[in-house]
């Protein structure tokens, strides 16, 4: 993975000093709260219901064991012993005192981490495929370009005060695991002959106006990528709406101008760049960054592992876990493991300090020092030998993070909701837990198969409800919480926004209604291999809506 050199180190240390000064000026009254707010946000400090929250960047979702242990230490010493992994591959601590923030930033800097631009109207953490560098289906590893984008976007002088927040995602695999079409910019690495470049999608997003991104350019050569991003950003910075917060995202600019006119403006700006304006990243620098992401030297392992097969035959729990939580690896005898942070009845994405340490230890002992965070709020060990899976499983069981539900209905995305968030209209976590209870039986979940169920506690859609196969949106009607259900959303290469089914349900009605929907699917699917979203596509939404609103 990438390691800081003296320049990166210097910048992060100077950020700690700068933010310390800003906090001091706020406390002395020199800075008004309105003036301080954008500054603290650009450093990931939010004011939540009960306390400040600190959001820490995990660039493209990759962590080293040392970094994971430092997060555990922060959880233990400055929070209530846990952290919350987010849909943007970041981590949040919800119980941090403002006065402690500069010290925590110092601890992060010690392990090459920061909270820079994790909030505010600027370019946020660049996200990517959590299997990058390990997946069989990628054309190249997208992480080096994510790191190049990270550096380019860090304290970019022109784009620090955009109309609204700005999110970039990168994938290099045909199966899109980074949800690029619901990002402000989604980049898909493509190969043309010997040339590598990027398909550029712009103007996707969720929130109150969900939009699937427009394809703006089919192939920007890699050495022109940053120039092209600058052109997009400049058009947006100059012309994005600033009169209404809810119309300020780039998706609204793309929609209002139309895809064609927006593309024309971007291309015109790109073509106007004079030679000295181009970023012209030296080839040595591109190579330098790529070198950090060289694939580990995987010692040869047998393609079929005796230890693995024996454990699978003798231990039903292990067999279930490997059936659901493994992903094919590029190297024979190896696999990628999902560590689910979705135990039934737990809080989605939360990990205790001791659990983080277990994951760090496993990554160090068996996993080539590599941990990933997924946008679905789980953790990944991207490179482990099949031979080592029984030992890994045993440690995960002991740590309480061996839930065998990756991609199943209980592996849901859930935002913090009204229990934590000042923006929320309704609670999310308890509703998610109640739904999980209904589907808790592992055989039942497996029978249902792959199904993405996402829950947001308000229209801002942090819980990605628009792109869940089933989405749940909490709304407030005259002081009472209601939950709107939508069907048919998806985040992958066939990205789509779900359709709202009809009137909202009361929270206590949600689990039973969903069970009716799911059992309808089980009775209507053409075979066990037809997953929910495919049955829905084949038959239309009506039978499922009927089931949703049926009275028992």
């Amino acid at each position: 993975m990438y390691r800081y050199d003296e320049f990166d180190e210097q910048i992060v240390r100077e950020r700690v000093a700068q933010f310390g000064g800003q906090v001091a000026r706020r406390l002395s009254g020199e800075l008004l709260e309105d003036e301080f707010k954008p500054l603290r946000l650009q450093n990931g400090v939010y004011l939540q219901m009960h306390s400040y929250m600190l959001r820490i960047a995990i660039p493209y979702g990759q962590l080293s064991p040392r970094q994971m242990r430092q997060l555990a230490r922060i959880a233990r010493d400055f929070d209530k012993g846990y952290g919350h992994f987010t849909t943007r591959q970041n981590i949040q601590f919800h119980w941090i005192a403002l006065k402690d923030v500069p010290e925590v930033l110092g601890l992060l800097a010690d392990v090459e981490m920061h909270a820079i631009q994790t909030s505010g109207n600027c370019i946020r953490n660049t996200t990517s495929d959590h299997f990058a560098g390990a997946a069989q289906d990628e054309i190249k590893d997208p992480r080096p370009w994510c790191e190049i984008i990270r550096q380019w976007s860090t304290f970019h002088p022109e784009f620090a005060f955009l109309p609204r927040k700005f999110k970039i995602a990168v994938t290099a695999a045909e199966t899109d695991r980074a949800a690029i079409r619901v990002h402000d910019i989604g980049l898909h690495m493509r190969q043309r002959g010997d040339a590598v470049g990027f398909e550029v999608h712009v103007g996707g997003g969720q929130g109150r106006t969900p939009v699937i991104a427009s394809l703006v350019n089919q192939f920007v050569p890699e050495d022109r990528l940053l120039d092209y991003l600058e052109a997009i950003m400049r058009v947006y910075n100059l012309h994005g709406r600033r009169d209404n917060k809810y119309k300020a995202r780039i998706k609204i600019l793309v929609t209002e101008l139309g895809e064609e006119e927006f593309t024309r403006q971007v291309e015109a700006e790109f073509a106007s760049q004079k030679p000295h304006e181009k970023i012209d990243l030296p080839r040595e620098e591109i190579d330098r960054i790529h070198a950090y992401f060289a694939r580990p030297d995987f010692p040869a392992r047998p393609e079929v592992s005796d230890a693995f097969e024996a454990a699978r035959a003798s231990d039903a729990g292990f067999a279930r876990w490997v059936k659901n939580n493994l992903h094919p690896h590029v190297t024979p005898g190896y696999t990628s493991v999902t560590i689910s942070l979705k135990p039934v009845g737990g809080t989605t994405g939360d990990a205790m300090a001791a659990q983080m340490e277990t994951v760090a230890d496993l990554a160090e002992t068996y996993g080539f020092g590599d941990v990933r965070v997924t946008h679905t709020q789980n953790l990944i060990l991207p490179h482990v030998a099949l031979d080592d899976l029984p030992a890994i499983f045993a440690d995960l069981v002991a740590a309480g993070i061996a839930t065998p539900n990756e991609g199943l209905i209980t592996d849901m995305i859930v935002c913090p909701g009204l229990d934590f968030c000042t923006l929320a209209n309704a609670r999310s976590i308890p509703v998610g837990q109640a739904v999980q209870q209904v589907f808790a039986d592992p055989d039942y979940q497996e029978d249902i198969g792959r199904l993405h169920l996402n829950i947001s506690g308000c229209i801002n859609a942090c819980g990605h409800h628009h792109i869940g196969h089933i989405g749940i949106l909490g709304v407030d009607k005259k002081g009472e919480e209601f939950y709107q259900i939508s069907f048919g959303g998806r985040a992958d290469e066939k990205a789509a926004i779900g359709d709202i089914t009809g009137p909202g349900l009361k929270s206590e009605e949600v689990p039973g209604a969903l069970k009716r929907v799911i059992d309808t699917y089980r009775s209507l699917r053409s075979s066990k291999d037809e997953i929910f979203i495919d049955t829905l596509t084949r038959l239309g939404h009506d039978p499922f809506k009927e089931a949703l609103y049926a009275t028992d």
């Binding site: 210097q10 954008p38 304290f155 970019h156 002088p157 022109e158 620090a160 005060f161 400049r234 760049q273």
Partner: protein
């Protein structure tokens, strides 16, 4: 607060004149872009220096024919969270080679100064920041990741010996 430019407090002979008010002979004035464009043909006949105050939604391209002769362009930041002025500054400096003074006016606070300088703004009419804090802000980061109008060498060049 005093005008700060080139690392020092500076006397300011310039006045901003609202649309409709007269420009007297022999003074230094800035006017809005629309007025500048309308009156440009007659301005050169008079013993008066006229600069431009750009609003956030002004298109800097319209100024390009005049850049050789203009001594002062003010970029107005109506709110400090409105970042359009940074793009205007970059366009004027880097694309169009404007060499005169580029001054930030409006809601200008200490914490924008570093970005402004890197975008090519070289004079600051701040709301509250005094000279020492402006000088401090200009030095907040000793390394930068991007090229810009402020002339700092980005780290991707320093790393490879240039």
């Amino acid at each position: 607060m005093p005008l700060i430019k080139h690392g020092a407090e500076s006397d300011d002979p310039w006045d901003y004149v609202e649309d409709g008010a007269e420009l007297s002979d022999g003074g230094y004035f800035t006017v809005r872009l629309s007025r500048f464009l309308a009156e440009a043909p007659t301005l050169s006949d008079r013993n008066t220096r006229v600069g431009v105050r750009l609003a956030s939604d002004d298109d800097v391209e319209e100024l390009v024919p005049y850049l050789q002769d203009i001594q002062l362009i003010e970029i107005d930041f109506p709110k400090y969270t409105d970042g359009r002025g940074y793009s205007q500054a970059q366009l004027l400096r880097r694309r169009h080679g404007y060499k005169g003074e580029l001054r930030a006016v409006g809601h200008v606070l200490r914490d924008q100064i570093f970005y402004m300088n890197r975008s090519g703004i070289d004079a600051y009419d701040t709301v509250r920041a005094d000279l020492p804090s402006v000088l401090e802000a200009l030095k907040e980061y000793s390394e930068v990741y991007q090229p810009g109008a402020g002339g700092q060498v980005p780290v991707f060049r320093k790393r490879h010996g240039s």
